[in-house]
Symmetry: C2
Subunit: 340 residues, 2 copies
């Protein structure tokens, strides 16, 4: 039933009941003494820990399309991508705030699907809904704030890399962008069995990996890949006041089944410039290189380059030619690729 004639309070109750009901976080009372229903949520921090805070837009037309993205995926992904920022610090997620604006006509079936995906992500990643804000709007607007925790001074920043540190990535790159191309080509809502489409619709934040790297002090700097390697690596380099040399042959590119191959889906280009992978990019001192396993919980870890004192980013191509790597990933303020 839609809530056209009803009120914001009913909507808040529906969201709270739906996401709370299936979350097994009964223990949440210990760190969340008060959540939905007050002007603000109360969170009880762990002694000796720092609180990690991140917020993330997820907007219809900019980050997803109402007629292409199943509501379940929108619910999952809005939380998963914010959680990826928590993973990138090496932190443990605790709770989140959901700001949701949507048309009254979507407060029925669409909202149920959305809340289903949100609930699954909330449960899977042990991150409890603590509060939020709702309003009516002609388009679906979502903003998610996630609160995490990490023992003091253990957070991995972008700024800690040193010259000679080896650059690693988790997983394979370019899959999510390839999935998006397939999704856009399809004529209707897809049944998301295809692994590339799943990578785009249901990203998995690398929380366990991030926590492990932080707890073992293996990495000197880390970030997640949300806008694409060619856009994100310069941010890590700038924060560390360094450059980097990437080896094209080492980059673990998306594997594309022959029937999907086309100019728009060239694996290396997707791996360099495609967004939404939510893999981790991290720097490891050469002395600790051997402590990095080939894979962690089934996710491959691959060395793709090295941090350099020269503040530029170069790509060593398969023909042994070095060329500068231009930032061609997702940037909403660049006109070329301004929206999904």
């Amino acid at each position: 039933m839609n809530i056209d004639s009803s009120s914001e309070d009913s909507l808040l109750r529906k969201i709270a009941a739906s996401v709370r009901r299936s979350s097994k976080e009964a223990v949440s009372k210990t760190f969340l003494p008060s959540g939905i229903g007050d002007d603000a949520a109360l969170f009880r921090p762990l002694p000796g820990h720092e609180t990690v805070l991140t917020c993330d837009w997820f907007l219809e037309g900019t980050h997803f399309l109402r007629d292409k993205h199943p509501p379940d995926s929108v619910g999952w992904k809005c939380l998963a991508r914010a959680l990826s920022d928590i993973a990138a610090m090496g932190a443990i997620p605790r709770c989140f705030l959901l700001s949701l604006a949507l048309p009254a006509s979507l407060t029925g079936r669409w909202l149920d699907g959305f809340l289903g995906g949100l609930r699954r992500a909330s449960r899977k990643f042990h991150c409890v809904l603590a509060g939020g804000d709702t309003t009516r709007r002609d388009q679906i607007l979502i903003n998610v704030t996630v609160v995490g925790e990490i023992p003091r001074r253990r957070a991995l920043l972008r700024s800690g890399a040193r010259p000679g540190d080896l650059l690693f990535v988790s997983g394979r790159l370019g899959g999510a962008d390839c999935g998006l191309q397939l999704l856009k080509r399809s004529k209707s809502l897809v049944n998301p069995r295809n692994s590339l489409i799943r990578k785009h619709l249901y990203p998995v934040p690398r929380l366990a990996l991030g926590q492990w790297l932080a707890s073992k002090r293996l990495a000197t700097a880390m970030m997640d890949l949300s806008d694409g390697l060619s856009s994100d690596l310069p941010r890590l380099c700038a924060a560390s006041r360094l450059g980097a040399r990437l080896e094209a042959s080492k980059i673990p590119c998306v594997q594309i089944p022959a029937r999907f191959r086309s100019a728009a889906c060239e694996p290396l280009q997707l791996a360099l410039h495609g967004g939404d992978d939510y893999e981790l990019l991290f720097a490891v001192p050469p002395s600790r290189k051997n402590l990095v396993p080939r894979s962690f919980h089934g996710v491959s870890l691959t060395q793709i380059g090295v941090m350099t004192p020269e503040r530029r980013i170069v790509l060593l191509e398969e023909n042994a030619r070095e060329s500068p790597l231009p930032a061609r990933g997702w940037d909403p303020f660049r006109s070329r690729r301004e929206s999904i």
Copy 2:
């Protein structure tokens, strides 16, 4: 200069530099070890305190109008109204996250004005910008998350009121809505000297009052008035499983200069149903009534009614007639008053 051809990173740097530059929070390093520039912000909580979390939409067309609201006011108000939720818990603000979506054409003068207002509010209320997210959009979309702190078990919830507790409000009610009416009638951007228009454009969260009430344990329940007394009081009553009786003659209504009076600006109706006042509504046990001063830091504190065991809200009118009080405040999901 607009950032049309430039990138999201430049925009983030502009925001960070602008809001940080004038904030005198050098001490913030002690509780904010890392802010803008990483995947997430790090916040170091005070021992023995709970963290208070709130988020708030502030959307063009829903909450403000680009051609009526000065950008400086948009910057001030988006933070001030979120801070009002911190005040409503009795907490101390610490830092905030800004999610901002806007057209590239507004990244010049409009953004400068916006950041000016945001900076003033940030400085005035000692709340430091810790991070955020930006994207491009045809309309201005804002979401603010504020993080505050309060000593353990001191937070004032909506649920603590008991039958017989006296209901108080701070300040005068209805001024902000009256200011909005005047603003909408004006033909262009207003020069905000008029005190009613100022109340709408530059609300002041009652932080000191909230903190004082919490620290003295004077109130049993509290909330802020953002949607209007007739919409907000039922929320406090529902949370406390009680009702309330209001006395119309006691409600401190907006004082409207004769030249502005009209049917649309009837003081009692504005005080009952007008939104955006950001005053505090709180319940005080009769035994502690005399500890509540007539005013606090220049803001009047007025007893307007009493909490009752019967779960309904009645208004005792000047003619001694009692009538139920319908919720007629701001609610985006009710069709009657769906937007500004």
